[in-house]
């Protein structure tokens, strides 16, 4: 019995170690592609390589905020009929918002790092930049609001708040399509002459999207796992307090 439990534990450890090693290897490969294989950009030179980090993070932050939105809608749908499932969905919503904020922060940091040498300024209040900052602020306020309230009530209120955050996402996505902005036009689905022409650039871009997506989803999974354990501890403590009365 004890042996079986130990073996199960060891297998789980082994799989996590292999998994994390695979993620790190993938990220290293993507880094190699972006820094050494892809050619330097014709006009901007090496500074344009930041694009392989900036754009994938921008794309992926939508993914994680969407996970937060879908999970929040599920919390609202299940909060009466199936509280246990709503609790699980809430863990997904929290993890989605946290990982999304990390990705959005990377977008906001790498953007100015590119803007300073290319535009000559760190920041400008153009539509794309402003709406991205607003998106980041909304989700930071979502995370703050979660800390200000407690219990099942907080989950419902946070889910409602998340719906409002999701309303800003389409505005952000369309910002450099609706307005003429200083921010470069969309790489994909924009003008016919925009986009990546060199196949090595496209490959480096693809590898980075994949690597950061896998990294983000791994962190998301770990965060959900921790949150589920925290929920179980909180539940057990509440039960113990009730039994003690």
């Amino acid at each position: 019995m004890l042996f079986a439990v130990t073996r199960h534990y060891l297998m789980k450890k082994l799989f996590s170690v292999i998994g994390i090693a695979a993620v790190i290897a993938l990220m290293a490969w993507a880094f190699y592609q972006a820094m050494y294989v892809a050619p330097a950009e014709a006009t901007m030179g090496d500074v344009a390589r930041i694009f392989y980090y900036h754009v994938p993070h921008g794309m992926l932050c939508y993914l994680f905020f969407s996970i937060n939105f879908v999970a929040s809608v599920l919390v609202l749908a299940w909060r009466r009929t199936n509280p246990a499932r709503a609790l699980a969905a809430d863990a997904w919503a929290l993890a989605g918002a946290e990982v999304g904020v990390v990705f959005c922060s990377v977008v906001l940091i790498t953007g100015p790092l590119w803007g300073r040498p290319v535009w000559g300024i760190w920041w400008t209040w153009d539509a794309r930049l402003t709406t991205t900052l607003v998106l980041w602020l909304i989700y930071v306020s979502y995370l703050l609001a979660r800390r200000f309230t407690a219990g099942a009530e907080m989950q419902t209120l946070a889910a409602v708040l998340s719906v409002f955050g999701a309303l800003d996402m389409p505005i952000n996505y369309l910002a450099n399509r609706l307005w003429r902005t200083q921010h470069p036009s969309p790489v994909f689905g924009g003008d016919p002459d925009a986009g990546l022409k060199d196949p090595r650039m496209l490959a480096a871009f693809g590898w980075n999207v994949l690597a950061w997506a896998v990294w983000g989803l791994t962190v998301l999974a770990i965060r959900i796992y921790i949150q589920r354990r925290q929920q179980r501890i909180d539940g057990a403590e509440a039960l113990a307090a009730l039994a003690g009365d």
Binding site: L137, V140, S141, L144, A145, F148, E153, L157, F164, L167
Partner: protein, 238 residues
Amino acid sequence: MSVATIPSTGTKASWTRLVLTHLKKDLRIEWRSREAINSMLFFSLLVVVLFSMAFDPSADTSREIAGGVLCVATLFASVSALNQAWAREMRHQVLDALRMTPSNGAALFLAKVLANFFFVSLVQVVLGPIFFIMYNLHPLGDAWLLALVIPLGTWALVANGTFFAALSIRSRNRELLLPLILFPIFLPALLAMVLSTKTILTGDDSDPTLLWIKLLGGYDIIFTTVSLLLFDTVLQAE
């Protein structure tokens, strides 16, 4: 729970009656105390004076910044009033009583928004002329458009503010939480409001005023609809 379950033929009429009853109650309470309007008025007047001290505006710069100052002054002033709007219902468990009545949350919400909209608009009507005098304003664009921009912006502020005040009422530090949630979500509307006011005052045609007004109108419609749909959830959250 909802009005529709009441066996009556005039479902729509009863919804309107609910809104009117709530609205009348709110207006009467405010008329008797005048807490919200007086404090908002004094506070926004202070902000306007502070900004004019901080920037020492000439005629040209005042046109540039006046819209923003007016919007921010109303924004800060409204937050305190919006916090009070629901805190008032907490006394004597009025909010719990409202949750138990067979009324619907959306009606309650709409009445509260209308009442707050009325209060903030009243403050703006008083503040507007003072503001024009103190900043030596003389609009160079189509001034009548202001009659469209200001109410639309105020509605955006009040609808969101009332909603998030109800959301934050049950948290610790609720006075602090409301601006933390409200400001980021209100930002697009603030931007549209400030930019359209600026174009109207400076008469600068390079920025399309109508686009910003349309954006503001769209924002109002979307956010009011979502608030109306979700308000019952917030009210009944436990």
